[in-house]
């Protein structure tokens, strides 16, 4: 049943091309049903046993092994299916049928990344999830040039190549790649040199995907050019693949190397945190504000992971889900704004709040979650991460990480007030407020933002899998201390 989470959306996406082009609504509702069906299925499979099929035995053992568990995989798949369903509900692009098909393939491929329990399978889905985004960038980009699409593809394929090579090397050295979520103690130890190079290969791919400064310049362009429904799920979920990889592969399999590269990762994370926030302060395009704010927020998660503190890592999972919820919400509301006013430039927008109170209300909540308002999900992640960082002894780093919290308030209010408040602009078209459907598409995200903010406890809950991660990193800390 877990495998259906991957197989059904991909097959349905391809099959959607059989639906007549004109039957856009049919295609949309099929896709919405599949996304929410996957959401329900994932909930029903909470803690279900893994499913595995033999795939390769030469040159190393690899299995079609998928599992949800009770940890990060489960929560991220919920986030993915929910945000995809919501984004699909309000899809309004030219050639909608084809676009929706790409969305479904993307849904299946991304689910595959997060439920794969085999490194080779993980790498396969990792590359597969680039394809729909690339195709969309080429075929639905607002600009004639394909520069953004190529930038996206080249960056991510270079990362994907590193990932594939590292996977192959790991398979050859270890004899199997079916190791995600396995108790690290049951694995044969690999030599330090191999561990270093393999982990660097994974890490390089993860750093590009997240992205981490200075490998981030593909991201603002990509986010600006993708249609709103797809950028919502790419920023909500695809950008988490690298962070997820650091947790389930980096921390679990290469704790020693992770410790060794932690100082570098910390510096890069701190730079991303401040750099992204400052850049977000001056963007005119709202999508670029959100893109740079993502660079900043995801830098915080990098810090959490490389602090090896169980509280911070629990907080990182919360923040991964939280950031997914509010960035999906942000990009969806930005899509609604662009649809109404034909622009996303802050210099042109203003005064929408009076005519569009519902849209203003939706943007308020997602923007507040993004700026870390206490009581909403962004704050829950932040406070857990920073508490863990401080407790692990990173005191001045914690203080530096607090500064972007203030900047975030400034740039998020700049967006919110710039769009909604002030006098009405006469040169903007007057359009209707959110329709019932548009409201319903935002509602699940808003509810999740509030619920996760009130009680992130279940998401931080360390199941056997994440416990082994914590244990492994603790062990290697001991090992390093002994050296």
């Amino acid at each position: 049943m877990i495998a259906a989470l991957v197989v059904v959306p991909i097959l349905a996406g391809l099959a959607l091309y059989l639906v007549p082009r004109s039957a856009e609504h049919l295609a949309k509702w099929i896709a919405v049903a599949i996304a929410f069906g996957a959401f329900a299925l994932a909930i029903s499979q909470y803690g279900a046993p893994d499913e595995s099929l033999r795939w390769l035995s030469r040159p190393f053992a690899a299995n079609f092994h998928v599992g949800l568990g009770k940890g990060p995989s489960f929560w991220i798949v919920l986030l993915l299916t929910l945000s995809t369903g919501c984004a699909l509900m309000v899809t309004r692009v030219p050639r909608a049928r084809d676009f929706i098909a790409q969305m479904l393939v993307l849904l299946g491929a991304m689910t595959g990344v997060f439920i794969a329990r085999d490194l080779l399978l993980f790498a396969l889905f990792w590359d597969l999830m680039l394809i729909p985004v690339f195709i969309t960038l080429v075929a639905w980009s607002p600009t004639k040039s394909n520069a953004t699409a190529w930038k996206y593809l080249v960056y991510n394929l270079v990362g994907g190549l590193a990932l594939l090579l590292a996977t192959a090397a790991y398979g050859i050295v270890q004899g199997t790649t079916d190791v995600i979520g396995v108790d690290p103690k049951s694995l044969a130890t690999i030599s330090d040199t191999w561990a270093l190079w393999i982990c660097l290969g994974f890490g390089f791919a993860f750093f590009i995907k997240t992205p981490v400064w200075p490998l981030h310049t593909w991201m603002p362009d990509t986010y600006a050019d993708l249609p709103a429904p797809m950028v919502a799920i790419v920023s909500a979920v695809q950008s988490k693949a690298g962070l997820y990889g650091f947790i389930v592969i980096g921390l679990a399999l290469f704790p020693g190397v992770m410790h060794a590269i932690a100082p570098v990762a910390f510096v890069l994370g701190l730079i991303a945190l401040v750099y992204g926030a400052l850049a977000a302060l001056v963007q005119d395009d709202i999508k670029r504000v959100v893109a740079y704010s993502s660079l900043s927020h995801l830098g915080l998660i990098i810090l959490a992971i490389f602090s090896f503190s169980p509280i911070a890592i629990g907080g990182a999972v919360v923040y991964i889900v939280a950031h997914g919820l509010f960035s999906a919400g942000l990009f969806m509301t930005v899509g609604e704004i662009e649809l109404r006013e034909d622009t996303r430039l802050l210099s042109r927008l203003g005064g929408l709040g009076g005519r569009n109170p519902k849209l203003a209300g939706g943007l308020t909540i997602v923007a507040l979650a993004a700026l870390g308002l206490p009581g909403l999900c962004g704050f829950a992640g932040e406070i857990l991460i920073l508490t863990g960082l401080y407790r692990a002894g990173f005191v001045w780093q914690t203080v530096v990480a607090l500064v972007p919290v203030v900047i975030a308030a400034a740039y998020m209010l700049r967006v919110f007030q710039g769009v909604m408040h002030g006098p009405e602009h006469d040169d903007l078209p007057e359009r209707e407020d959110l329709s019932l459907l548009e409201g319903l598409a935002l509602a699940p995200l808003v509810i999740a933002i509030v619920l996760l903010g009130i009680n992130p406890g279940p998401v931080t809950h360390l199941d056997t899998f994440t416990r082994s991660v914590a244990a492994a990193s603790a062990q290697s800390t001991l090992a390093i201390l002994k050296k």
Binding site: W55, L56, V138, V154, L278, A279, L384, Q417, H421
Partner: protein, 655 residues
Amino acid sequence: MNLAFAMTAASPALLSIWLLPLVGAIVIWTLGPQLRRNAGYLGSAFVLVSFALALANFGAAGNATGLRAPLVTWGPGFAFGLQLDALSLLWTLVITGVGGLIHIYSIGYMWTDRAIARFFAYLNFFVFSMLTLVLADNVVGLLVGWGLVGLASYFLIGFWFYKPTAVAAARKAFVINVFGDIGIMFAIFACYAATGSIAFSDIFAKAGTFSEPLVLAICIGLFIGAMAKSAQVPLHTWLPDAMEGPTPVSALIHAATMVTAGVYLIARFAPLWNLSPTAQEMVAVVGAITMVTGAILGMAQWDIKRILACSTMSQIGYMIMGVGVGAYQAGVLHFFTHAFFKAQLFLGAGLIIHALGDEQDVRKMGGLYRKMPFTFAAMLTGTLAIIGFPFFSGFYSKDAIIYEALEHGHPILFFAGALTAGITAYYMFRMLFVTFFGSYRGDVPDAMLAIAPPVPGAYAAHDDGHVEHAPTWLMQAPVAVLMVPTVIAGYLTIGGESSPWYRYFGTLFGHGGNVAGVPLAIPEWASTIFVLVLVTLGIVVAYLRYGNPPALIGAVDRLRGEALKMPPVLAHAFYVDALIATAIVRPANALGGAISRYVDPHVIDAGVRDVAWVAGMLGALFRALQTGLVRAYALTIVVGAACFIAYFAYLGTAR
């Protein structure tokens, strides 16, 4: 975690007190368009029921542990709950009591505003947030309330969001308060790292084991939060701007309750502050600086609400100085009395503003006592209370703070407090004379009073149909009710250490600070007389400048001359805004601009392009592939992926 607390069942009364205003906010928000003005009655009812419940539990809250209600647990040490003890009960009663009265007043004040339902939804949400702040039994819960009141304040300052000035003021208030939040966050991290818990009870139980620098660091973090929320220098600049909100909001949030949260925070953390004389000194000095600065700024304002805002700043300075020197009971008493008299002053000012069709400049008023005798009586009692006139409530609380500053060994703060009392008397009576005496100047042209013309593009008077009409009973009744505690609230402290006020708190604050042998000690009556002399002096100077018959006759010329001669340093409020803009806002924007216009495109991207260029083989390959046909690209990818899958499938079958 303390087992006894975990086993205590949640108190339904406490949960109701806390949640009723939230229910009100949600109901009003959802049904807003249907409710219209009924939203006001509904919102008032939710808050007043909450008040009645709090009052009914007065006895239960006063005992050792108070009422408790555990809520959620995030993980080890992160347990959230509510507690109602003596300190939080006091705040709860003021929030819901004064808050309820201001709700009723607002029905009249917002009568003709189209968005009246939205206003009451926000107001109820504010009450809920403020209750979260004072009822939390842990420091993260307190921060949640702290952030939510900031949000409510943001919503209500920017309530008339079509006014650019209101929007800017709201953003400024929010961002400065988030800066305060990160101070509290730092304190949370330090407390958790030291105790493994966020609960007040656990932190205070282990406070004795903290090192001196740790206590100081936690106190500094908390105080940054207190400074932002309670408008202490130099984080005060948002408060005068916050007067852009509707006047009832100024009364409730920016005078009576939210801005005093810093006082609550310090009183709540008294067990920590008592451990660090350095931290106490810091708090007391910043409080004193704010007290004096607010009073000086108060002398230079023309907008009636800004006069009151500066006086609020100054009075909170008194409270902060009080709790800073360890005079917790006196500082909290000044919060209590101030909540009544300042709410009354603001509501009185609201009656004037409402009657004059949104005129707020005192230069355009004058002679109003004949037309508005009730309002005059309200403003006069409020003024007498705030300047510490004998037998009015402020007299007891302010005197206690000033004298205890001396008693705890701070003679300079004592003199600053006494001097500020004199200045307060001056500017408050200045306001009274200019507003209520002489002849009405509403029809005098602005130029004759040297009132600056509005900035081009600024929003002129709003169009929600405020027309000149007498205040209804809805607005007068709450003011009349407030007049009672404005006069008598201070009598609670008659009898010193054995008075009801001191017995109510008992040993809650522990032993506050260093009551050492003070060489300058004088008896309390001498201190009182000294202060009263300065207060009288302030009133006399105000009378000579604004109140005597020649001054009243030549008021127009005199006010114009004064406006033209205003020293720039006062007109620009000591340039603090300009300093923040130059030192922080502009550099941050410049850095952001440099990043997005220069570093990202021309350094990082260029670097990456160079790497690509060096990989010449790759480049050549791409050139060959760049046919420009989208279908060709897509096909390449699909074929590549197919080969990849086929290869591994082949390996799989050939095992």
